[in-house]
Symmetry: C2
Subunit: 234 residues, 2 copies
Amino acid sequence: MTDRPRRTVRAPRPRSLPAERPGPTGGKRDLNRRKRLAQFASAALELMQRHGVEAVTIEQICEGAGLAKGSFYRYFSGKPALVEALFERLAEQVDAAMARAETALAAADNTDALVMAYADLAMALAPVVVEEQAVVRLYLQERRGPRTEARAVIRDFGDRLLARGEALTLAARAHGLLRDLPPAVTTRAVIGAIEAVAWSHLEGDLPGDPGALGEALISLVLEGVLHAPGVPAP
Amino acid sequence: MTDRPRRTVRAPRPRSLPAERPGPTGGKRDLNRRKRLAQFASAALELMQRHGVEAVTIEQICEGAGLAKGSFYRYFSGKPALVEALFERLAEQVDAAMARAETALAAADNTDALVMAYADLAMALAPVVVEEQAVVRLYLQERRGPRTEARAVIRDFGDRLLARGEALTLAARAHGLLRDLPPAVTTRAVIGAIEAVAWSHLEGDLPGDPGALGEALISLVLEGVLHAPGVPAP
DNA sequence: ACTTGTTGCGACCACTCGGTCACCTTACAT
DNA sequence: ATGTAAGGTGACCGAGTGGTCGCAACAAGT
């Protein structure tokens, strides 16, 4: 209640993020904005891989990015929004690739077309996974964590992946490509195997060429661990 | 600086946990101790499944157990010690079963003995996994989380499991049971498939009889997803 | 040049958490 | 019965934490 000099009595400040960012694309504002976003994103990605999505604090991220806490809230409403931004590209690309594979698989009228659709999917996914390695690693790390606000994006991504995968399995089975086993089990087993190998590789526990790893994995998934029946052990 | 009544000047309190617990086994002390431990353990297990090992606070656990924070530190030096206690039984049993399987596999001199060793392992593991379901679920949930102090026990357990699994794979391959693929990849793919199916089942996403699930999984792992070569699609 | 809204900042607030401590009660040994 | 050490408690402390605010610097349209 002291009459210390109050600030100018302008309009009430809209403390939320501006809905639309100003300035010409490529202008000083726009450039700066991209740079800040990248700073926050890369700091967050590094810290979250080391300490986990939930354990990392906003303050740590700001320190890592070399920016103030107030600035963080200019760009993100909180950690969940930040995580969403981190997964944006990966989620987009993977969703699109899976959707394409699904329609291709549904339209396939012979085994060759079927196998082709799978091959196309793999070729579409590979570069994205390589480019977004760190995000993929974060996904694998957090996939099974409890559904907190910040992790919801990650779990949703995983759930969509699973659902799309199951649709693929169903289509392939409808065409008689796969053995007659519960699609839910088949899908989860295959994805689980892929993710486990990918995880070990990204952790550094499984050195070697990713291509060779992939080939071994595919062979394993398609034909199993045993020698084909009728082929005696050497 | 005030001369408020100071406490009696007895011997300095040994603030650590007493090395050896007193009282006759089955006495009031002993019984009470077991009860408190169980209270803390069950509260922690429930909370950790819902919020994650790291996110759960000591205060929450105490509230869940209906005991004071001070009491918690009478029994555990901190969260890591609590997690260690939670995993004690499971780790013991699994380690023992894996070790037995390893010696049995090394001693096997024909395929039947080999398969028998695997079957024994499965039969030994099944009841433990059922009894310690909640702990198994916690393991699957936290397995890939960053190696914090509290999670170190869990990651160590997983690493031991993987190492034992790889030894089994090597033994089986040495006997010519398995195809000639990198053992590290095979092991990780198999364990990954098993864990993914188990996880979905424990999450409630994969309803059905665990026995049937297991059979489908085994068939999948052994023979792959494809129809056997030479068997044309129907 | 001038106005206007965005951006960067860091002090600040209310709150939470891990861990400790002095004190009281309880079980056991003698 | 009595002494002793273990067990139970909750107030308390210090170190953060998420989130906000007033302000100054600044870019962009006019």
